[in-house]
């Protein structure tokens, strides 16, 4: 209850409800105001017309002319007469002489000069009933007051509006509170599920996932995204576990080898030739260790995505060309061949140095693993908005069930880890491709191991 009421949704919903209420009331009352204005205009016109008619009668025949108009009904209207008289012509008339005595019409109406709403009406039954009135002089000796009752229609309308307003306020406030509460509770419940999962993840349960409903609303989408994020985090965590084993192996092995060599140096201290040999071996192991650390650091750097900020337009064709040119002698020295088909002028947005490293790692992989006397090749093409880079050989290829694993860190096809190389080269290749929004896979349709990299063109 408390958390629901503290929620932002609750207060926002209340705010919206009150705005709606205020707007509705404003509309109602402005409708009334408009009617009131129109009616008041009409009354004024009627009163002026009547006053005009009486003034004309006075000008033609004096006060007698005016009086003659009303002779039939009696000059002085009693309170009882008023209702009958008003049926013919709903205007009240009063003519006063200089002593303020009524000589014609209904004595109970009083008004100041000019037009006024809410004039005074003295009547037993109608006391307090609103009257619009016009007072003006009739010749030099008399004053004329003409009045009209405030129309019943408006009177009723006003009464109805007051009732509606009161009931709306009385009804709307609790309804708004209830709606706000229900809405807030709903959001709270949907979020509570996510919160629970997040809390469990914080506590270390990385397998916990948010239950996803069928209703594809915004909560659904958020839940899906959180679940995807957790999937990724789990994968990374899994990777880290794998990596720590790999690191333990690939770092401990050279370190223990170095330690062993140091012991041998100690033992063979009086045999300079042997010592020299041990030193060289130890240096080899240090080199291995350094390479592993470099590759790990580089991998970390690439995966952190820091380099993405400084990417710029790069001529991939030129890069491939230079790389192939650099590697042709390396292949020749290994009694292998390197060929290339490079479409010129292909540009991508990328990091020169990382792309170079990606190509080098792929080419080195081929030099190392292709068959004796084999042929390696590089092909760079552009397909619409995509750049396709293929680096392959004509060897026996990699079994399809290992196509994913070769990119894993510290993965080596022979389990012995006897060969040089630390099993990080292809992981780095994949990370670099992914950093460039690309995708890398082994092409299953070609014989030999063919790495197929798709990158978005610049």
């Amino acid at each position: 209850m408390k958390t629901v009421i503290q929620s932002a949704v609750f207060w926002r919903t209340l705010l919206v409800s009150s705005v709606v209420l205020v707007v509705a009331l404003l509309l109602l009352w402005s409708f009334y105001g408009l009617n009131r204005v129109i009616e008041s205009r009409a009354t004024q016109n009627l009163l002026h017309e009547k006053a005009q008619a009486l003034t004309e009668a006075y000008q033609e025949e004096g006060i007698d002319g005016v009086l003659s108009l009303y002779e039939a009904d009696g000059l002085i209207w009693s309170e009882d007469d008023l209702f009958d008289l008003l049926e013919e012509d709903d205007l009240i008339v009063k003519v006063l002489d200089q002593q303020e005595d009524t000589i014609l019409g209904f004595a109970g109406i009083e008004s100041t000069d000019g037009f006024m709403t809410n004039a005074l009406l003295e009547h037993e039954e109608l006391d307090g009933h609103r009257v619009d009135a016009l007072r003006q002089p009739l010749g030099n000796e008399y004053d004329l007051i003409v009045g009209r009752f405030f129309p019943d229609r408006l009177f009723v309308l006003a009464a109805q509006l007051r009732l509606i307003t009161a009931s709306m306020v009385l009804l709307a406030v609790p309804m708004a509170l209830i709606t706000a509460y229900l809405l807030a509770r709903y959001v709270h419940r949907r979020l509570a599920d996510m919160r629970g999962v997040v809390r469990r993840v914080i506590q270390g349960d990385f397998d916990s996932r948010i239950a996803v409903t069928d209703n594809p609303d915004e909560f659904f989408r958020l839940s899906e995204h959180i679940n995807q994020m957790l999937d990724r985090v789990s994968r990374l965590r899994h990777n880290v576990q794998g990596v720590s084993h790999g690191v333990a192996h690939d770092i401990k092995t050279p370190v223990s080898n170095i330690a062993g060599r140091l012991q041998l140096i100690e033992r063979d201290a009086d045999n300079p030739n042997a010592v020299q040999g041990h030193i060289q071996e130890a240096n080899q192991h240090i080199e291995t260790l350094r390479r592993t650390l470099d590759a790990l650091l580089r991998l970390g750097e690439v995966e952190a995505g820091v380099r993405k900020k400084t990417m710029k337009k790069t001529d991939l064709s030129l890069l491939c060309h230079e790389m192939v040119e650099s590697f042709i002698p390396v292949f020749e020295d290994a009694d292998k061949q390197l060929q290339s088909t490079i479409e010129p002028g292909i540009e991508i947005t990328g990091d020169d140095e990382l792309l170079a490293q990606m190509l080098i790692n792929l080419l080195e992989n081929i030099v190392e693993h292709s068959r004796d006397g084999g042929l390696g090749w590089v092909r760079l093409q552009r397909h619409a908005a995509e750049v396709v880079l293929e680096v392959g050989d004509d060897g026996p290829g990699i079994p399809p069930n290992l196509h994913e694993q070769v990119f894993d860190r510290f993965y080596q096809m022979d389990d012995s880890r006897q060969t040089a190389g630390n099993g990080l080269g292809l992981s780095l290749v994949r990370s670099i491709a992914q950093l460039h929004s690309g995708h890398i896979a082994l092409n299953p349709d070609e014989p030999g191991s063919v790495f197929l990299i798709r990158l978005p063109a610049a």
């Binding site: 240096n283 390479r291 580089r298 750097e301 650099s326 080098i360 080419l363 190392e368």
Partner: protein, 287 residues
């Protein structure tokens, strides 16, 4: 070290470096002691170089004068010993404050500067020196080998960047290259080593009068070797200079290309000019 007068240097608005070195200031003569107390950053940089009045390095024969700034005692001892055995003189300090004063106070051929000094980024030292127009070549030593780290180092004004761990030969080759860099900038356009002649204007290379047909990359490798005649050029130096790579390929990329070059430059002739230093690199020399 006598530390008496205090000057204050602000580096990039944050780091305050305090120096006490009165006797040098007095020796310089034109400095008002009162000003030393005024803590204005712009007082500081001119102060460092004005007082000591030099703008860079001084050359004195083959023996180099090196300032080493390294807080790790073992690494420092290793470098100091190596440099002394090579016949160079080396001054070692283990903190940024002394490093600034030494570098500003007397000419060195090269400053070897550890990137991570106690409580301070070595880059600050580089910046202060460069802002004070002290242009002694600086070699940054670092355990950080990210591309961004290297770019930051070079942007701050360092001349070269070497990642730990390194072989002493590598360090020495780079220090030598830095110490020799400036005079070579104004050098004539023909390099000669023994009978090998490189005309840079026409990119023509001849040996004993025979024209050598070199590929562009081979030409660049040879050019770099000849620029550093008699000095060790390491594999990573060539990788950085010729290929522009700051990582170490597994394959013997450099060795393969140098071998091709040697096949053209040395094989047809009786005297071998390009020599391999096992496990370190290559030297070109006539002897």
């Amino acid at each position: 070290m006598p530390q008496m007068v205090t000057a204050v240097a602000f580096t990039q608005g944050a780091v305050i470096l305090c120096f006490e070195y009165r006797w040098r200031l007095l020796a310089a003569g034109n400095f008002h002691t009162a000003e030393l107390g005024a803590q204005w950053p712009d007082r500081c940089y001119p102060f460092l170089s004005l007082v000591y009045g030099h703008r860079g390095m001084v050359h004195g024969g083959d023996c180099m004068n090196i300032l080493l700034v390294e807080d790790d005692a073992e690494t420092a001892a290793f470098i100091v010993r190596g440099l002394q055995e090579s016949g160079d003189s080396v001054l070692h300090t283990d903190n940024a404050r002394d490093a600034l004063f030494e570098a500003a106070g007397r000419p060195f051929d090269v400053v070897i500067l550890d990137r991570m000094l106690p409580g301070k980024d070595g880059l600050e030292v580089v910046r202060v020196l460069r802002q004070s127009e002290i242009n002694t070549p600086i070699l940054l030593l670092t355990a950080l080998d990210g591309i961004d780290d290297r770019v930051a180092g070079l942007d701050a004004g360092a001349d070269d960047y070497l990642v730990k761990p390194f072989a002493f030969a590598e360090l020495y080759a780079r220090v030598k290259a830095l110490a020799r860099r400036q005079p070579l900038q104004a050098v004539d356009n023909v390099y000669t080593v023994g009978g090998l002649i490189m005309e840079r204007a026409t990119q023509k290379v001849t040996r004993e009068g025979v024209l050598l047909d070199l590929l562009p990359r081979e030409y660049r490798i040879l050019e770099y070797l000849m620029q550093h005649e008699g000095q060790l050029v390491t594999r990573t130096m060539l990788l950085e200079q010729i290929w522009g790579y700051h990582f170490d390929p597994k394959t013997s990329l450099v060795h393969t290309h140098v071998s091709r070059l040697r096949a053209k430059v040395d094989k047809p002739f009786p005297v071998e000019l390009i020599k391999t230093v096992r496990g370190a690199g290559y030297i070109i020399s006539a002897s």
